[in-house]
């Protein structure tokens, strides 16, 4: 039986046996992000604009949304109707959500005008869009969980849209219990997963270089491939 120190000295951890799933997963996970790039303390010189802080602001706002939501969960779904503390926490939850959406959309505008999907970053863009749409759905179930007039009206209206395409047969907006559970468990988990993927992808590829900081190669027959570069159309 060899020691960890012995095996490390012999670099055996870099050559895992193919049949060891743990070793293969570790190697795979280790390669997700270039070494030292998960939390780099340096950025390319072109990362030099206030627009770059909006991703961080969005993430920060999301944490406040989750935190205030957790406090609301402590008191239960109707706590905020009878407690002024609860009402204040509800207000924090509402305004952090408004800020979350505002920062996220500004982040989206910035990323669009920077064409940030270039250089194999299509999946970063796509996870961002899905997180955006998923956030809208999460907010929607939140509005349905207010147990007040707003919830009554929104559910009465929304059911028609959802029923018209068959979704309402399973996703019943008139059922506050179901909506609350989606709001506090399923949807935040999905958003959380998407955000983690999105951020890992940013760290993996690095911040996209400026438009025209590109080398131009003429190639007679290359098909357009947004995975590799940007076609001229």
């Amino acid at each position: 039986m060899t020691s960890v120190a012995g095996r490390t000295a012999a670099h055996e951890h870099e050559r895992p046996t193919r049949s060891n799933w743990t070793a293969r997963l570790r190697t795979r996970v280790g390669r997700t992000v270039p070494p030292g790039q998960l939390l780099p303390d340096r950025q390319p010189v072109y990362v030099n604009s206030w627009i770059y802080v909006f991703g961080a602001l969005t993430l920060a706002a999301l944490l406040i949304v989750l935190g205030t939501g957790a406090v609301l969960a402590l008191g239960g779904p109707t706590w905020w109707h009878t407690s002024s503390t609860g009402h204040f926490v509800n207000s924090l939850h509402l305004w952090s959500t408004e800020l979350f959406f505002a920062f996220m959309v500004i982040h989206l505008w910035g990323k669009f005008f920077m064409a940030a999907w270039r250089g194999r970053r299509a999946l970063t863009w796509i996870t961002g869009v899905i997180a955006f749409v998923g956030s809208i759905g999460t907010a929607f179930t939140g509005y349905l969980s207010q147990s007040n007039f707003d919830s009554q009206w929104i559910s009465a209206q929304a059911k028609d849209g959802l029923n018209s395409v068959g979704i309402g047969a399973w996703f019943n907006v008139l059922d506050p219990g179901q909506m609350l559970m989606w709001h506090i468990s399923l949807l935040p988990a999905a958003i959380g997963l998407l955000v983690v993927l999105h951020v890992i992808l940013v760290r993996r590829h690095g911040v996209v270089p400026p438009i025209d900081a590109e080398t131009t190669a003429e190639n007679a027959a290359i098909a357009e491939d947004p995975g590799d570069g940007e076609a001229s159309s």
Partner: protein
């Protein structure tokens, strides 16, 4: 009961929502226009 609304043709929008959207546009413009001075100017390290 109802808040304040702006009507313009088929568009109806609450003053609050309009303010929010305009504020976002202003913030976006500022984010791009305002210089971002980062302290450490040492470059050239890969």
């Amino acid at each position: 009961m109802a808040g304040h609304y702006v009507h313009w043709g088929v568009i109806q929008i609450s003053v609050t929502n309009l303010v929010i959207i305009l504020a976002m546009l202003v913030v976006f413009a500022l984010a791009i226009a305002v210089p971002f001075r980062h302290g450490d100017e040492d470059q050239d390290r890969p």
